[in-house]
Symmetry: C2
Subunit: 185 residues, 2 copies
C-alpha cells in the first residue's frame, strides 16, 4: 500500500542510489523514462539532482510544466525499466506500450506508476546554466510516498526473496539492492 | 590489483550508486570523507556531481587545490567509511586515526586509498553558483582505476561471499550491492 513519507525522510528514499523512473505529464500526454543519474542533494527542503538529456520527451514536458515524479522501480519492473530507458516517448505512449498504470500525483500532475517502491512528487527549481551545460536539473520534492511492504519505520526493509530496488550497471544489467550491514563505531 | 580503467568506462564505475570516499590533499595535509551524494553526469569527458558541505575540510582542500579523488569502498571498509563520514579532518589526520593507507594519484595529488574497489582522479570544473547554492561540485575524471578482482571486462563482477561495494541508507546502515539481473528485451 502506498503510504505518505514525511518530507524530511524523502532524501533517504533514494540515498542508496537506485535507478529511478522519471514521470511527466502535460494535459493528456504523459511519459516515463529511466534515469540512473538521480541523487539527493539537500534535506530541508528535500532536493534532488537529475540528469535529463536534451533531446528527450521527458525534458520537453519537465520544462513545459515545471513538474515531474521520481520513482524507484523494483526488480519485478526490471524489463520495463530498461525498455522505458531505451525507447522514446516521441515514438508513442509508453504507458500503453508497456502496460504501465499510473495515477496523477497529489500535488503535481505527473504520474505515480503502480508497482514502484517509492514515489517523489517534484517541482523544477530553474537553474538554466547547469541545465544547458550538463543536462542537470534541480528538483524540490513536495510530496513523497513509499510502499509500506518495503518501507517501514523510516527505513527500507527488504525481505529475503522479496521485491527490492535495483541499481543500473550498464546496458540493461542491474544489481539488486543487497543485504543490510550496520557499521560499528 | 589496481588496474587502469579507460576513461569512457569511468562513469560506469559509480553508475550503480554506491557510497564514495572523497580524498583531498594539500602539501603534507590530506583528508578523506564519505559521500553518498555523488553520481556520474556525463560520459565524454567523464564528469561527476558531488555534494560537499560548506563547512568541511574536504571542501577547503578541494577549493584550494582544484582536485580530489572519488573512491568506492567495499563492505570490508564499512566501519571506516562511516567513521570518516562522521568525524572532521579538522580534528586530526584521519589516515593516522583510522589506519588508512593511501598513495598519491597519477595525475592529481589527492590520495588513492588502499582497499577500495575503484578510484577516480578528478579535477574541479568551477561552477560557483551551484557550489554555493547547493554545495554541488562538478568534477571531471582525468584518470580511473579499479581492483581487477572485482572489475573485469568493463563490468563489476562481485563473487558470492566476496567483497562488494556498499550503498548508504542512513546513520551507518548500508546495503551491499546485491545479485545481478539482466533485463530482457
Amino acid at each position: 500500500m502506498r503510504i505518505p513519507v514525511p518530507l524530511d525522510h524523502a532524501p533517504r528514499l533514494l540515498n542508496h542510489g537506485p535507478v529511478t523512473l522519471v514521470g511527466t505529464a502535460r494535459g493528456d500526454e504523459r511519459n516515463v523514462m529511466a534515469a540512473a543519474w538521480v541523487m539527493p542533494i539537500d534535506f530541508t527542503p528535500p532536493k534532488f539532482a537529475a540528469v535529463v538529456a536534451a533531446d528527450t520527451k521527458t525534458r520537453e514536458l519537465l520544462l513545459a510544466t515545471g513538474e515531474c515524479t521520481l520513482m524507484a522501480p523494483t526488480d519485478a519492473m526490471l524489463d520495463v525499466t530498461y525498455a522505458v530507458g531505451t525507447h522514446s516517448g516521441r515514438d508513442g505512449d509508453k504507458f500503453a506500450r508497456y502496460g504501465l498504470a499510473g495515477e496523477r500525483g497529489s500535488v503535481v500532475a505527473a504520474p505515480l506508476i503502480a508497482g514502484c517502491a517509492c514515489w517523489l512528487e517534484c517541482v523544477r527549481v530553474p537553474e538554466p546554466h547547469v541545465e544547458q551545460a550538463y543536462d542537470l536539473f534541480v528538483l524540490e520534492c513536495v510530496a513523497a510516498w513509499a510502499d509500506d511492504a518495503l518501507w517501514q519505520r523510516g527505513e527500507w526493509q527488504f525481505a529475503a526473496g522479496g521485491p527490492r530496488t535495483i541499481h543500473h550497471l550498464k546496458g540493461g544489467l542491474f544489481f539488486l539492492t543487497g543485504d543490510r550491514r550496520q557499521a560499528q563505531r
